[in-house]
Assembly symmetry: D2
Homo-oligomer: 441 residues x 4
Amino acid sequence: MRNAIAPAQGKLGVLIPGLGAVATTLIAGVAAVKKDLAQPVGSLTQMGSIRLGKRTEGRSPKIKDFVPLANLDELVFGGWDVYADNVLEAAMKAKVLEPMMLHAVRAELESIKPMKAVFDRSYVANLDSTHVKEAPTKAELAKALMDDIENFRDANDCTRVVIVWCGSTEKYIEVSEVHESIEAFEEGLRNNDPQISPSMIYAYAAIKLGVPFMNGAPNLTCDIPALMELARQTGTPIGGKDFKTGQTLMKTILAPGLAARALGIKGWFSSNILGNRDGYVLDHPDNFKTKEVSKLSVLEDILQPDANPELYGDIYHKVRINYYPPHGDNKESWDNIDIFGWLGYSMQIKINFLCRDSILAAPIVLDLALFADLAKRANMSGIQEWLSFYFKSPQTLPELRPEHDIFKQLIKLQNTLRHMMGEDLITHLGLDYYQDLVETL
Amino acid sequence: MRNAIAPAQGKLGVLIPGLGAVATTLIAGVAAVKKDLAQPVGSLTQMGSIRLGKRTEGRSPKIKDFVPLANLDELVFGGWDVYADNVLEAAMKAKVLEPMMLHAVRAELESIKPMKAVFDRSYVANLDSTHVKEAPTKAELAKALMDDIENFRDANDCTRVVIVWCGSTEKYIEVSEVHESIEAFEEGLRNNDPQISPSMIYAYAAIKLGVPFMNGAPNLTCDIPALMELARQTGTPIGGKDFKTGQTLMKTILAPGLAARALGIKGWFSSNILGNRDGYVLDHPDNFKTKEVSKLSVLEDILQPDANPELYGDIYHKVRINYYPPHGDNKESWDNIDIFGWLGYSMQIKINFLCRDSILAAPIVLDLALFADLAKRANMSGIQEWLSFYFKSPQTLPELRPEHDIFKQLIKLQNTLRHMMGEDLITHLGLDYYQDLVETL
Amino acid sequence: MRNAIAPAQGKLGVLIPGLGAVATTLIAGVAAVKKDLAQPVGSLTQMGSIRLGKRTEGRSPKIKDFVPLANLDELVFGGWDVYADNVLEAAMKAKVLEPMMLHAVRAELESIKPMKAVFDRSYVANLDSTHVKEAPTKAELAKALMDDIENFRDANDCTRVVIVWCGSTEKYIEVSEVHESIEAFEEGLRNNDPQISPSMIYAYAAIKLGVPFMNGAPNLTCDIPALMELARQTGTPIGGKDFKTGQTLMKTILAPGLAARALGIKGWFSSNILGNRDGYVLDHPDNFKTKEVSKLSVLEDILQPDANPELYGDIYHKVRINYYPPHGDNKESWDNIDIFGWLGYSMQIKINFLCRDSILAAPIVLDLALFADLAKRANMSGIQEWLSFYFKSPQTLPELRPEHDIFKQLIKLQNTLRHMMGEDLITHLGLDYYQDLVETL
Amino acid sequence: MRNAIAPAQGKLGVLIPGLGAVATTLIAGVAAVKKDLAQPVGSLTQMGSIRLGKRTEGRSPKIKDFVPLANLDELVFGGWDVYADNVLEAAMKAKVLEPMMLHAVRAELESIKPMKAVFDRSYVANLDSTHVKEAPTKAELAKALMDDIENFRDANDCTRVVIVWCGSTEKYIEVSEVHESIEAFEEGLRNNDPQISPSMIYAYAAIKLGVPFMNGAPNLTCDIPALMELARQTGTPIGGKDFKTGQTLMKTILAPGLAARALGIKGWFSSNILGNRDGYVLDHPDNFKTKEVSKLSVLEDILQPDANPELYGDIYHKVRINYYPPHGDNKESWDNIDIFGWLGYSMQIKINFLCRDSILAAPIVLDLALFADLAKRANMSGIQEWLSFYFKSPQTLPELRPEHDIFKQLIKLQNTLRHMMGEDLITHLGLDYYQDLVETL
């Protein structure tokens, strides 16, 4: 049985750790959209529609007209950063949007100043920081973040808050003992356990307060037993990891297509060049490792080499990220895919994607904020697997294989919305259209 | 209610009009696979698997182990061609497979000699022909084809026969009066109506005999009211049009991916270079027109510009095919896609596909032959929309919009198989996995 | 013996038939450079340097410091167009330069208004015109142009004038009787001979007055015996045809490189997409034909298939231009080159050039204007083969094979400048550096 | 004054350290060419021609008909390797040539067995070796190599021998004291100085005997003062370093073209994927470093950023080599070049080269062997700068800047040949053709 969904009344605070290229592109964009200067392209919640009923009914409302989402007018943005720049200054440095566009929403951006960040250089070696919280223990840092959240909520008169992590990729760590239970984790906060990363402190603070938390980077963050348990206890939606943009987006589009046709794959070489802060952070091997794990798992899941050894058993998959300043935020990817078909004859696909990282990521942040808030109001707590669509490395129950195929992810998302609103799920069977022709079916 | 499916007993005759590059690659390939010299990669019926039940059940049988298909050992190949070359000679001229591979199945190929073709130069200007049937009327040509089919069946001791059109693309024509009813069509056959093309005569002969007919070229062929009606009367599965390979395959993979993310598209430029007989035929504007219509409709359907005018209302879509002899059968495509995202910022995707046309098409012919035979045994007559997966321009009821999204096509195909075998349809909802966490759902 | 060169005193008028994308980009650019807002990149005369003497001397002055060229401050621009827009308006429509850049030189551009053009729709079918001269005969049109030139010179106080054709590509015609002698040509002007195109009338007017004339389009224009003879009589430098930009530029860079290494070429497929007025005009087959001839000859000359039949005897060369509005002035080319090496093994090169047509062409116009004026002052009349560097289809004496290899063209240009200034020509022999080691050389 | 050239009488021994993919492709190829089974494409000495005199004379003999080179029939191959495989076995493992081609020259290849190599694991970490010389000192190893050379010469009845290094890239080292003089070097040989690499021992052995030595890898080898001095004393031609194939070949073709047009360059990103032994060795950072230095210097020299700071002062140049087994010897490169033109407007060039490493390198080895022998017979000793054409990092006198522009390198090579044979050097001035038109010039 489905839940009643509480209405989206009052203001929704959207708090973002990491007010860099992605976050400032989102905030400036929402301001511009509200002034009718531009369209929120790439946002499913704003531009997407959803088919209901049979093909012949012609019912395809916009998603925002179908499910009760917060309206853009009700959003209030804020966040934390390791630099003290206000959002206008940060957006100018990010060089994603044109000066003229920023100029048009100047006032809205200038007024948003980051709160001091929780930061630990040992997790992001290539970043300096000048605007960070100081406290003797991680528990006190968590407390400070909770105060920030509540102060922001009260100051801005919000009825709800959601948090979306847009900070840098932290170095690679694995789940260890301190992550296994709420007790161990809270003990670790008090003891400054080095295995508790800054992003985990943010996630803890949010979840403790029942504030939905979505993780846009590949770090573990809320993907640990302690925080999953806490989310369940506090009725908090959580999700992650790593916004699916650029090359991986293309990969989760293309790989299912090749697999659909039972075409074999011998090798997939992926190279990226980018020149923004993200590229600079990922130039450090520890941080790249976290990203690499996130990027490599994608093909493994979609192709299932164990089940299809003749087609995908010998695939050689390599991903490279190269810092290349001339491109700035314009990430460019180049893929070479060695496939084989009938009788093993080989073919090649080359894809060159001249993309803009933050332009692809910003609408994902918006959608996640709105859907996380919806989930909260629908009493859907814990891991939101139906939001896998947005992530390179979707968080699921440990016993489930994550689904990377973007088309299955989309059906899951859409059927979840249909289910929430009491509509029929769609199976694309459609034999009934031919019923009169095929009486016995 | 689903049908009982008759078992696949006895030999299945596979008759092919057009024993050129695609057909010979198929026939040689099946022979090689039977000798364990190579794998039938790209064939869903042979290599594909299908998930049944819940994710956690781990049930994913091969499709050929799930539905009762004819076994490769029971297939007998034959066909018609405008040249008298046997299949070995035709395969050598096609230069798709290596001489060594052909050598290994030499005997099987030499023994297959084409029957004389029904041909009309006014439909394929760039082809000469030396091996064609002569008769005063098209009705008599149809009769001759029916005799061919029955003789082949008896001579080879087949219990069933299917036909898959692999001939050249005919010139562009539209549905006209002679195509509107069985009576008008049969009158036209007797009067040599010029609007009845050779491929229609083949289709008529097949359907009249209850022999399933699948159309691999973009010609109308069986996509006319007269033959749809006849198929229903004779209980014959039919389907088409135009095998989905190469660039269009990529397009139906990629476009749904972009649409899934609500990314806008301003332009899509598609260029092809190829040097085989197909390329030569398509160098003639009349024949290219037929192909162009087939290729252009794809985006229109997937993107639905009328429903999403801000995203797809202004798309400029252009397709070019260039005859380029140095490449032979190695078709190469190059696509430039101009997309836009958040706030209208533009990005570009370039795809360079070094493919092999016949290697991609051959397994489609195999799958269609086997599935058409299955449909016949399951009493599914008329248009087989669930085989849209294999076609650039899927035949549907006139009142239905064809589905081009390859992922929806795949779900339709798989759910049809599940339905035929009495298994649950899959919706990818999956909220039940989280049931214990979200009790109220 | 070399000539004394008259100094570049006083103002130089630069008159341009066709004030479209290229011309307005040039004019706006020179204005911006004079204000120090941007650099004249791509202009050899402004940015290029030239090595003099031995490598070890370290003498590499800028070309503009080596030969006596007119200074940018002394240039005065004007021209003719079939539309009455002033240069600012035309530049805004061309959408090559950013509005901010145009704004900065607004006054300079607004003040330049085109004179009425000589135009003939039968030569450029896809263009409408609203601003053209009317006269009963082509002779009178020529006279009107001569008046324009002289009036412009006097009004602007110029000591010299040069003309560079930047108009659209005219339809394909071949040299015929009316082009064979001055007498026949002048007779044809009086009789309105249809074989005399508008561009020829401009060229005639210029050459008659001794005004250097350079042709940036592939039309015959001054590449006919009548005008070559006239140029010699009036001591006028002439040159053409067709500015070498984009794909052909790349081709004349790459082909000599492959030929240098004795690598074979089987095929070269070149596709272009562009959306500007040029692309629109070239969508008409008659105009494309003129362009195609110009583009195809390039490889023929560089590779010399007759002299190297094993390497280049079977080359299949195809060029396609596709009108594609989403790209505007951003011409994009894609080349596939099938090469072969040792023992005939094949390899492929793919080149994707995202270029800007007018950005590449504008500095060529500048260089040609300045070098043509230099030639005039150095008493070098007739065909200026040393300017082949700038042209897709260089005009030469009929008995000489044009040189397309851009590197030989550059050496020719540089050695001509060295020769003009009395410097040693450079042969790159350089054995003398090793003299002490190899005494006997 | 030029030298008399001794005739090419008798057999020429070609000894190769490193009988891997390149060497075996060369040896098999020469055997195939001698049997008329294939053509020596890519070899300037065999397929190239050279223009003599004025353009209108039409004199363009093949190079092999112009200068007295050794004939292919007189070549005898041999070499050293760290594995004991004969050339047929090594060629089969290299998988460059098709089995059918190798079969046709089976006997010639089987008969060539490598001599034991001088090897030092500390210089090539990723290679195992099973077939190496043992001796207490490097001096004795050098002696053993000299014995090998003389024994080979006598056993095969050769009048001359040349050596071309085709071994793996050694780790990066710089010139140090032991390399500074013959005395220090010979002392180092006796003391087993670790700064003396295996390739230096080969070079020493060759030069000591007056045997020309060419270096196809980027190691220092003979590019040290000690061996340059020795070469002069013994009258031995030497040259290097690093065969110019694939991506660098393209770079030295393209960069001069961009520079010719005074187009600016902001960034050049070069990625390579390859799966052969070379790729595996270069996966080790020490060995890649040697290669990287060789590859990066190319642009520096061609563009001369110090002389053209506005155009090339800020170029960001990055080269990556990725080991990617699915490709085998089929090296693939992908380049992104960010250029800018008129007023600083940016453009992009992408080059995707699907090349075959050994197919490009084999003819270079042949040419270097033949030209080195020619130089020896012409009494040209020491560094052969005129062979820069073949090298990524041409060896020159320390005080000279190496020339990387492949077109200047070609002119240097051709003018050297013309000079050797007493023909006029070519300057491409060509004003004389227009003499009658321009009397005063």
